[in-house]
Subunit: 344 residues, 4 copies
């Protein structure tokens, strides 16, 4: 049955699932469970997540990274607030305005070179407090690893968190590729989330071997308030939730999450290393997780894409994005690089 | 692994998945596929769905029944419209205001005895057209099978559809239990949807043996317009969509959908038949699909629920709802009825 | 200049303004004032309003009754809440869905005979608390005088307020015709608002001799929270606010508000009294403020409207609404009744 | 009665109204008129407006400039669209997120030196068409005169309009100070709105001598669609509309609008001319309408504000904004400049 597409470098969500994920779903498929998360498997998955993030968290499963981001932001804001983010952030460019539509808030995009926010870049937006004509800044949202494949250090995050809190803002982290950041930093999740001052995290494993496993994690239970109602109203409450819950447990109970992310990152390093030998190609961002950004002669791009699918990042610059995933092989990389060499 | 809960009568979504569903997901888990629905399996699933509903449809997969309903309604309305529905409808009582929040529309609930709309009941809402102070009626939304377990005949639907269209309204059908209605009527889906004048359908298989398989089906391609943007903005666009697509195919390519629904309906009939022998219990609705509604002496309810979980329907009336599902067994029913008999 | 339309009985907002209102505007038109309400005249108007409602209030001026209602409700709710109101209420039928659009909430309309809510009528909606599938009831909204011309007594209001508060709901009052209610009851505003447990009031003088003078009044300062941002975001913050403020002061500093309302009510009584002598006409509601509702032979309605404009209330019943205003004269009433007599 | 504040340079909306405006309101205050715009005076005002903008327009009165902007944008967009504007635009910084809240759209702010958009600055946002992850660009919104006091020439507007239309976008103009732009350009309104390709205009006279007179003007009747419902749902439909309508007529029927704007602009020129003689002050923008922007030694600002109120524009740069209005006098300017000279 079915056609099998060659692995390309389009997105880590073009990969399938790790076999352990499907196995766990099969095992969960016995008997009845209360729907909507009030079940054994969901409780169990939350416990596994707590082993990574600490016990003082509240976890809510949702369907997509966009859902996790929007609901995180909704819970931190009122409609007259604004949300500061990188111009390249997923919430700003890849969610079709879902944050604005559901929260009513204004997004304040900030230009960056590398997808990472700094105080210097965002401070111009921190004004107008108390002035009702002005959307009130309330959240700084950063992405870890960033949309440009770069990774914040814990201290960089801490600096932003402190700055946010000093100004009565919250720090939200979009962690759609949190595993890739963790293995890149060589530390556990908690060190650069809860311990670094993050208030709310969008935590995704879909890009790291799950079918769909996304969660909102609160590091301060007082922030949870009425989240459950927002989740339902946002159409993000699943009925047979056990089948998502076991995906978290399958990847996080042991080291699969880590092996997957390490492998993806390693393949990106391999790809970058080999590509950097080709003078016609210019790598544009530090390769700190599982993405490689490069300026490529425009004439070869269509022929490359025909064999290994990937997306343009910036048409004007002829910049492309190559993502590796848990199932990328060294052969994939080598064949791809060979093709590049042949075409340039 | 895990605890296995005894099958109760709480909801058809307390059941797990039919084994064929998980098997299909395993088979789909090979190689890369373009994300977000532009893949082989999604195309294949759409073809299977067309075999049931005709070729002149457009299909979009979403995550939940609420998502399907809200997006159906969003696509048919503008924010100043109103939506006529039964007071007991899922969109009115079980979606935490998601329709209002996402569409901006007013819901106009109509009291019914049996969960089914009639022209007589809704015509009082068809006024104020062109008067800008008044939300403009635009959609009639019915549920098939209804939330009270009753089923519309094709001609009842046709009458409502004609009435809607004569008044320049659309007819939306919430088909979270469409399979149960189809086997109850003994006809194919198309006869009482496309052929009966339904404009847009929320089609769900989650309650009939899928893990999560929900879709919006348009019977008039001109209505599709910009649905894809709404789906994304509503956080209802899945990345690894193949894994939902194959669930549709697994259930609909052969007769599994039918066998599942027939079995669930049969179990409801069995339950109703046996319960009706108990004079202390009064069945309150015709049993036309997989739900049984009954007034039960309040003192026995907690003890019943302790062994076989189910929900109250109306506290004031001491009315309960018992749902059967594809995996309910005759023994489940018999043991349950025995317990009722013992307790009354 | 201009054409002068004959005074009819269409709406109290078809009248112009009391001369004192325009005179006050002329007097306020000197020098500069800070915009958006931070000015002398606004402060002064608030003081005048406090003389009526007590010092423990917060007042915000807005543009329309709809604006006052929507912002009152917005401040009391979150998007997952529901708002209980009479089916005939302005928020339910005359605001084109503005409450749903701006608050995201569900409205729960309740059928009444006379436009007035009672505990008996609303209690069926007070359930599902804590259940995230269900919009959470949060506000009871009543209209004083009601859209059917009836008036709540202070004790009727107190009963609803206590019931609301016992169930952790708020009581909102739409007071678009509060003056008419006050003179009908023969008591000051405070007695049946602040003293009766109302939490937030939409207070309108537009229908009682202002050009446009509408306000939201909070009786509990803790409820005010971030109202000022909502007002701006709802496009209800006026720049040259002094010109609205002085309208409040002009009508409320002395007895003009009272004389206007007493006169309008008296004209309604006169109309009802004379109409009740005509056996072909049936008055359908108690005449407690400045509206008369009556069933009129349908064949005479167009001819009546041609000379004295008014609106149908219920086409099916051939029921009409006749509103009197501060400038209705006895001659208007007499000529109108003569015409009715001639036509029946 | 009342205190009279010294005229400052805070905002043109700190001024009162031209006497002709109030006189027109008094004259309109006779007899009854149908509410909500279906009246003689509103029709008459529309005719006067057509004399300026041509007969092929549709005009709707609203309460505020924010209301006019939001409703213009709402009518041109769907929730998944984006709106390109200058970072300094009123819709981006002075409306507390009202555009996002009511339309659901994303705003795409563009940095400018002088408040004016150019193709060069906006073209980076014109991508992602048809890609559902990306908010779809749909409107370019410019402000005339801009928030920085600069004025677009008709040909600059035409270039933007053509570019918008070639890309299937609309061009919206925020004309809160349209009169100041017209007299600055020395041409009629039509030349740089309808004739230059503007699709929809927010037209305000409040800052030019009205009490509150704001309108949305459509230059293509096909774009009007269901505007009237949006206006009502946005709480921008006034009941006694005649009193706003006559303000338009009073200012636009003769030359008052022009004299007012010419005077305000002239006062800004006078102020700029005199200030430019002071070496410690640096004027930062071309003075093309009624605003003067200048960098002022921070230590003198509070003392200046104490006598002539005005607002900071950019705290970081110590840049201030001085607005003149129709009632600013030469003496005001001279006294102010004297004070500046004394303080520096």
């Amino acid at each position: 049955m079915g056609r099998i597409i060659k692995r390309g470098f389009a997105s880590d969500n073009n990969a399938g699932a790790h076999p352990a994920v499907l196995q766990a779903m099969i095992e969960a498929n016995a008997g009845h469970e209360i729907g909507y998360g009030d079940d054994y498997f969901t409780a169990q998955a939350v416990e596994v997540i707590k082993q990574h993030f600490g016990n003082e968290i509240e976890v809510f499963f949702v369907f997509t990274g966009t859902g996790a981001n929007v609901l995180s932001l909704k819970n931190l804001t009122d409609s007259y607030h604004s949300i500061i983010c990188a111009e390249t952030s997923h919430i700003n460019v890849d969610e079709c305005g879902a944050p604005e539509k559901f929260t009513g808030c204004k997004l304040l995009p900030v230009e960056t070179d590398n997808g990472k926010l700094t105080i210097e870049k965002i401070k111009k937006h921190l004004h107008g407090f108390g002035f009702e004509h002005h959307s009130q800044p309330k959240v700084i949202s950063l992405t870890q690893a960033s949309e440009l494949g770069t990774v914040y250090t814990p201290s960089e995050i801490k600096i932003l968190a402190d700055y946010a809190h000093q100004n009565k803002l919250y720090l939200h982290m979009d962690g759609a590729r949190l595993s890739n950041a963790a293995v890149s930093l060589g530390i556990g999740f908690k060190k650069f989330t809860a311990d670094a001052g993050v208030d709310v995290l969008s935590f995704g494993l879909t890009k790291n071997g799950a079918i769909n496993a996304e969660a909102v994690i609160f590091f301060d239970k007082e922030l949870v308030k009425n989240f459950k109602y927002y989740r339902k109203q946002a159409m993000q409450l699943g009925s047979k939730m056990r089948f998502m819950a076991v995906q978290f447990a399958a990847l996080l109970a042991g080291d699969i999450w880590k092996e997957n992310a390490e492998h993806a990152n390693k393949m990106a390093q391999l790809l970058a290393s080999k590509i950097s030998e080709i003078p016609e190609i210019k790598i544009t961002q530090k390769v700190e997780s599982n993405g490689v950004f490069a300026i490529v002669p425009p004439e070869i791009i269509p022929r490359l894409q025909a064999e290994f699918f990937f997306y343009m990042w910036d048409e004007h610059l002829s910049e492309v994005r190559w993502m590796t995933s848990f199932d990328t092989t060294e052969e994939d990389v080598e064949q791809f690089v060979e093709l590049v060499k042949k075409l340039v």
